[in-house]
């Protein structure tokens, strides 16, 4: 028992935290862009599912992980355009179309998978993106392996956090973006093209959510199975609220959820007699508790979730 709680256990736990947090982080940043433009997209699970499948398929056929990731992102954009058209152009309710995405995209993914591989009993291995150790930095004891020895997509996710933070607080397009989420009518009178910004937000959201899905099948495991997303989209959604709509906060929230997930898997190994279902509940229960104690809905964009009727005066 004591042997388990040593330094390498801690290192493995934290390493796995980062691995688990990355897909949630990518998707949470996706939702952050969407919600900053006033679009609540609950279809993240669906976008991830299609990203996971298309990424897997393209990776499997080309044996190129980068192409796979790119294709996953493109698939996310394509599916999210349905959401964008109906909610932005037709002003339909966002929640409803998020739901529709959650039904359509996983069904599409499972349909395509069954057509591509008629025998679903065999687990098919796709391509995996290898870890790219950063020379020099990865040699640092303990932290080197923890922080600088990951697949490139992991670095991308954390760089994205910084870039997103700068974008929303220091740049003109970023402030325009926020204006659309806060008060679209005022933004429009200031010459901001609200409809365009909302579409751009949907493109970014689809791409990053698709990428988050593709991470699961290319960087995390190199197989695809139905239900691989397992509610991560909804955890990302709560990470945005918990992180108070700022990229740094969202990152902390994702790391917390990643930690719960990593811990849960390790606890299963340490306590084989405890029913594993009770341990698997940990990430979901932690999400709930985090929301109960810190998730006050105040800092959100004011026009979040409301349709913008351009013709209405």
């Amino acid at each position: 028992m004591d042997a388990v709680w040593n330094i390498s256990f801690l290192q493995e736990l934290l390493l796995s935290t980062i691995r688990m947090a990355t897909p949630i982080l990518l998707v949470a940043i996706a939702e952050l862009y969407s919600e900053r433009a006033g679009m609540v997209n609950i279809g993240l699970d669906g976008l991830m599912a299609i990203g996971a499948l298309v990424g897997f398929l393209v990776g499997y056929n080309t044996m190129n992980p980068f192409l796979g990731l790119l294709a996953g992102a493109a698939a996310g954009v394509a599916i999210n355009m349905i959401f964008a058209f109906f909610t932005v152009s037709l002003c339909a309710e966002q929640i409803v179309y998020g739901m529709a995405t959650n039904i359509l995209a996983p069904a599409l993914a499972s349909f395509i998978y069954r057509l591509s591989f008629s025998d679903t009993s065999v687990l098919i291995k796709g391509v995996a993106q290898d870890a790219a150790a950063i020379p020099g930095l990865s040699q640092i004891p303990f932290f080197g392996k923890l922080l600088f020895n990951h697949p490139p997509l992991v670095y991308f996710a954390y760089i994205l956090v910084i870039l997103t933070g700068i974008f929303f607080s220091r740049t003109r397009p970023g402030l325009n973006f926020k204006a659309v989420g806060e008060f679209p009518r005022a933004a429009e009178t200031m010459g901001i093209r609200v409809i365009n910004v909302k579409y751009i937000a949907c493109i970014i959201c689809g791409a990053l959510a698709g990428l988050g899905g593709a991470y699961l099948t290319i960087c995390y495991t190199n197989t695809y199975s139905e239900g691989i997303v397992a509610g991560r989209g909804f955890i990302a959604l709560s990470a945005v609220i918990f992180g108070r709509w700022v990229s740094g906060g969202v990152m902390m929230a994702c790391l917390l959820f990643g930690f719960c997930d990593a811990l849960q898997i390790r606890l299963q190994l340490i306590f084989p007699n405890t029913p594993y279902q009770l341990l698997q509940m940990i990430p979901y229960v932690c999400t709930l508790l985090a929301l109960i104690f810190f998730g006050i809905r105040k800092n959100g964009p004011k026009a979040n979730g409301q349709p913008y009727f351009r013709e209405e005066r």
Binding site: F86, A92, Y97, A100, I103, L115, G231, Q277
Partner: protein, 357 residues
């Protein structure tokens, strides 16, 4: 206003279903298979014999309950995505009642259904309480609770009440199973209960003062508050009722069809229920009809897969397309430009009628 709007309420879903089927047909044709034969398989799988039709109705039963649950909550302006969790909790409660209390026969069924309903309501109350007390997003909370409920059910059938080597509980006693309507037509009475409940909820929502208040909160919570309606209390009660309906559905599914808990019990019923409620535009009786349509698709999809080697998920794609078009259609006719066009044609109609007179 009225006649054309009611017509639109029927025409839009029917048209959406038609378009979704056409797109589904194109996909099937793209696989190099004949879409007409495929749909033939689909419908013969659902209606082919009285036995198959009975199975279709049995599949519709839980969908009606989760759809009613979703519709009722959304009438009050809150999204209950936790139908699946409440459904499962209802069934888990019932299996405990059946396996541990030792009551048998009709009183046992009543007790089990009642407790399943209550526990479904309790599970549904959690997102409601968190919403009114902490302002939490009810969708996220109810989804998280779905995962917790599913895992808890897994714990029950793999450890707590497991019987034998396969991870499942023992079947409930024969005397606790819901009886069939007739020996030749194998539909359990739960289906009748579901249909009756649809009419009851329809009456409550549209013809009682409680239902009026619920709808008022759903349309404009601010205005409802200024009118002195207890908005928070109404939101909470809509969650409790919604959860109770889903919980009852889970209990009935256990007593009428599955008889035991195992992996996959209730899976997907919550989201399907929300989809059905949306297509039916939150009308409880309409929801029962759409649930029947979904059951036809579910039942037929297995025939489609075995008969023509078309993945059954094509049916899920069709279902999603129906939502996309049905909701899109209702939004479209509310657009100012479309309304103007409709008004013009309406005016011409009345002019013509005037000329005749």
């Amino acid at each position: 206003m009225n006649r054309k709007d009611t017509a639109a309420k029927v025409i839009i879903p029917v048209l959406s279903i038609l378009i979704a089927f056409i797109i589904g047909g194109i996909i099937i044709a793209g696989l190099g298979k004949n879409p007409f034969t495929a749909y033939g398989y689909l419908f013969s799988g659902a209606f082919g014999s009285s036995q198959k039709f009975a199975q279709t109705l049995t599949i519709a039963c839980p969908l009606i309950f989760t759809a009613l649950a979703a519709a009722f909550a959304y009438k009050c302006g809150v999204f209950n995505l936790g139908g699946e969790g409440q459904f499962i909790i209802g069934a888990v409660t019932s299996i405990f009642v059946c396996q541990t209390t030792g009551v048998t026969g009709f009183p046992g069924i009543l007790l089990s259904l009642a407790l399943g309903t209550v526990m479904g309501g309790v599970w549904g109350a959690i997102p409601g309480i968190l919403k009114i007390a902490r302002g939490l997003n009810e969708m996220i909370v109810s989804i998280m609770l779905n995962y917790v409920a599913t895992l808890f059910m897994g714990y029950v059938y793999t450890s707590l009440l497991r019987e034998g080597s396969t991870p499942q509980t023992a079947a409930i006693a024969d005397s606790l199973q819901l009886s069939r309507i007739s020996d030749s037509f194998h539909v359990h009475w739960g289906f009748i209960a579901a249909v009756v409940l649809a009419f009851v909820l329809g009456y409550v929502i549209f013809n009682t003062s409680f239902g009026f208040k619920i709808r008022a909160v759903g349309m404009n919570p601010m205005a409802a508050m200024f009118n002195g309606f207890p908005v928070k209390k109404l939101i909470l009660s809509s969650f409790i009722i919604s959860g109770a309906v889903a919980g009852l559905g889970g209990s009935i599914e256990l007593h009428g069809k599955q008889f035991r808990l195992m992996s996959g019990f209730g899976q997907g019923f919550g989201f399907d229920g929300v989809a059905i409620a949306l297509i039916a535009q939150l009308n409880p009786v309409g929801a029962a009809l759409v649930a029947f349509f979904f059951a036809v698709l579910r039942k037929g999809s297995s025939t489609l897969q075995t008969g023509m080697k078309i993945p059954s998920s094509v049916v899920d794609i069709i279902q999603a397309l129906v939502i996309i078009f049905a909701v899109g259609g209702t939004v479209l006719i509310k657009r100012p430009s479309v309304q103007k066009m409709l008004n013009r044609s309406r005016k011409q109609d009345s002019d013509k009628e005037g000329a005749k007179a």
